[in-house]
Amino acid sequence: MTAKVVITGIGVATPNGLGVDDFWAATRIGKNAIGPVTRFDAAQYPSRLAGEIHSFTAEDHLPSRLIPQTDRMTRLALVAADCAFEDAGVKPGDIPEFDMGVVTASTSGGFEFGQNELKKLWSQGSQYVSAYQSFAWFYAVNSGQISIRNGMRGPSGVVVSDQAGGLDAIAQARRQIRKGSKLIFSGGFDASICPWGWVAQIAGGRMTTSDQPERAYLPFDADASGYVPGEGGALMILEDAEAARARGAANIYGEIAGYGATIDPKPGSGRESGLRRAIETALADADLAPGQIDVVFADAAGSPDLDRVEADALSAVFGPGGVPVTAPKTMTGRLYSGAAPVDVVSAVLAMREGLIPPTTNVTLAPEYDIDLVTGQARTASVRAALVIARGQGGFNSAVVVRAVD
């Protein structure tokens, strides 16, 4: 028997909301949080818009001992982890240490921390590099710091698959629970809005150069011109459903019911993208037919070639216009490893309210035969949702989230 794995706690921090309530209040009404970069002077760069988190002061939430040794993305993740624990009603000591673990995704690690140390190395000398550089920037840091802060000594891990990693981490967390762990933290955070991170993202060639916050990140729109990067993410507490009920968990948001992942063939091979296969695998894993999916949270790359692949895969699986599709990340920009965990959060909150949050700013281009929820949120009974995440290099991941009675 494979255990049913459910979400019992959520911590979320995005440009349009800190904490579940704020986040959902903003997301359900389509509150845009994309704006000019303020964390540094971006005037000289071809891309100048970002989804920034403005209202977060790490010192208000974390001990001062942790501040000098953490990148921004780690601080956000640590605070989100605290919130998720509180939301789940789990207190230290409730669950044996070796039965709790942390599996997170990362895209670029603590890139801003790394930037500052690289600058010291090359402008001042090697002896100026911080003692914390040995871990503060690396991809494993969030799993490590969360496990230390919360006394979690069970199976843990870190995956890096660009934006798809957020779902790969959730799948790995589910695997660990099925192998016997009681509680696993999962999700992802990234925050690389710093000059060095900005230049690396520009090099990827897919960032928009638009200066208009409402016309910049427009997936499936005739004016699609690339994406706007954002910062933030979400962490969830996953538990075995029976164990969660047994401890009287206050929130059982939904079940991680299915997962599938592929990588596209080498560019130029002429073979089909693996996205359709990833979706089909996730549906089969959840034992659901396409007709049983009530909404798709799209990856929504915002580049015409990638949007085309995604729309084609959705049409192939669900039929033309066969399922409502949405991309609330148009409000926040793309959050890298944090994006898909945030979409999973949106999916379970959509189930709870019976409301599909909108894809803001977008007018669906006629060439895509998908039912994109644009303009305003749409009332709907949502019992099962598909979340898609894709990463540069051809990573495709899909997760099915199902309501729990």
């Binding site: 550089q133 000594r153 990588i263 296969r277």
Partner: protein, 422 residues
């Protein structure tokens, strides 16, 4: 009993041992590949030694485009993945490509590439607002090291699940462990897996200097890595990669594949204690070992050889010794333990996979590689560390372990398939 997972192909690129054969020669002869750093001027650094690989990407068949766009670590990974696939004799063309996946471990990703490119776009740190016009398009591939998994997938034709596993210095075990889980649960039938790191760059040397983790034994580079020796004073940074082809046992048998070993058990735990420090009792590593043995349905007594993490830092070697005693009891004293880091250095995320390769080759040859440079044992490290010379020793099952920053502790049990499930 569910699906069992076996290794059917190996590719290794280690300092002093490029290719599986050369790698095993180095280990079995007890030679060391540590030396004074030649990649850049090491004079400003506290530690000036490393285990460098003399690697020529063109000789290994990489095209100029591949060489340009890939960080050195990605190049290593592609070379060892190709070698492993060729070694396995597997032709992926006959398989559903979506049933073949990739997991590649790496602790620090493209850190060398990032260090190099940062110097350019910042004009050696002069610019806060670094200049994008000097950034090459492959900088994004350095920014997100999942590019390593994509490159390996493209090089081998795998189109199933693909990811980079990045758990610091246990990445090389955890990546393979992750791949094993995907085959066991039925998500994939074939996995190209392993790990790679090429961290020998100024930023990495500087960050380990800052915490005095690397050895300052600059006057004697060939004997600088001294695991379990009372004179040890830090690890020697290394680089390299090892990749494997993993298959489900029955289908490997059916195609008549050469089976090197079964991955019989794997587990990972966290110390939840400190990002760089270790609890002296070794409890988490012991727990990982115990769970890996249980998964393999093996007793501590069935372990014939322990391939240690043995980094050569003061705290690690004692921590690990304690963990072996805690998990294996009296058997720990009867079992040969050795650290190949004494010869090939510590290549961070890659070393776990390189050590899996060494473990498999120890079984293959019934020879336990030595711990080089071990002349004066630390009284607190009182196990049999196979000093200086390799030992003929019947080896049917090996325990290999890793320990890393972030508190990760991992253990894997490798065994001859005909023995482990008797």
């Amino acid at each position: 009993m569910g699906r069992r997972v076996v290794i059917t192909g190996i590719g290794v690129l280690a300092p002093g041992g490029i290719g599986t054969k050369n790698f095993w020669s180095l280990l079995s002869e007890g030679r060391t590949a540590t030396r004074g750093i030649t990649f850049f001027d090491p004079s400003p650094f506290r530690s000036k030694v490393a285990a460098e690989a003399d690697f020529d990407p063109e000789l290994h068949g990489l095209t100029p485009q591949e060489i340009r766009r890939m960080d050195r670590a990605a190049q290593f990974g592609v070379v060892t993945a190709r070698e492993a696939l060729a070694d396995s004799g597997l032709d992926l063309a006959g398989f559903d490509p979506h049933r073949a996946g990739v997991t590649i471990g790496s602790a620090v990703g493209a850190t060398t590439g990032l260090d190099n490119e940062y110097r350019v776009v910042s004009n050696d740190g002069r610019l806060d607002l670094v200049d994008h016009t000097y950034a090459p398009s492959h900088l994004y591939n350095h920014f997100v090291p999942s590019s390593f998994a994509a490159e390996v997938a493209w090089a081998t034709g795998a189109e199933g699940p693909a990811t980079v596993v990045s758990t610091g210095c246990t990445s090389g075990i955890d990546s393979v462990g992750h791949a094993v889980e995907l085959i066991r649960e039925g998500t994939a039938d074939i996995m190209i897996t392993g790990a790679t790191d090429a961290p020998i760059s100024p930023i990495t040397m500087a960050c380990f200097d800052a915490i005095k983790a690397t050895t300052p034994r600059n006057d004697d580079p060939e004997h600088a890595s001294r695991p379990f020796d009372s004179t040890r004073n830090g690890f020697v940074l290394g680089e390299g990669s090892a990749c494997f082809v993993l298959e489900e046992l029955e289908s490997a048998k059916k195609r008549g594949a050469r089976i090197y070993a079964e991955i019989a058990g794997y587990a990972s735990r966290c110390n939840a204690f400190h990002m760089t420090g270790l609890r002296p009792d070794g409890r988490e590593m012991a727990e990982a070992i115990t769970v890996a043995l249980a998964e393999a349905r093996m007793n501590p007594e069935s372990i014939d050889y322990i391939n240690a993490h043995g980094s050569g830092t003061k705290q690690n070697d004692r921590h690990e010794t304690a963990a072996f005693k805690l998990s294996l009891g009296e058997h720990a004293y009867r079992t040969p333990v050795s650290s190949i880091k004494s010869m090939v250095g510590h290549s961070l995320g890659a070393i776990g996979s390189i050590e899996i390769a060494a473990s498999v080759l120890a079984m293959e040859n019934n020879v336990v590689p030595p711990t080089a440079n071990l002349h004066t044992p630390d009284p607190e490290c009182d196990l049999d560390y196979v000093p200086l010379t390799a030992r003929d020793h019947r080896t049917d099952a090996v325990l290999t372990v890793g320990s890393g920053f972030g508190g990760f502790q991992s253990a894997m049990v490798l065994a001859r398939p005909e023995r482990s499930m008797a």
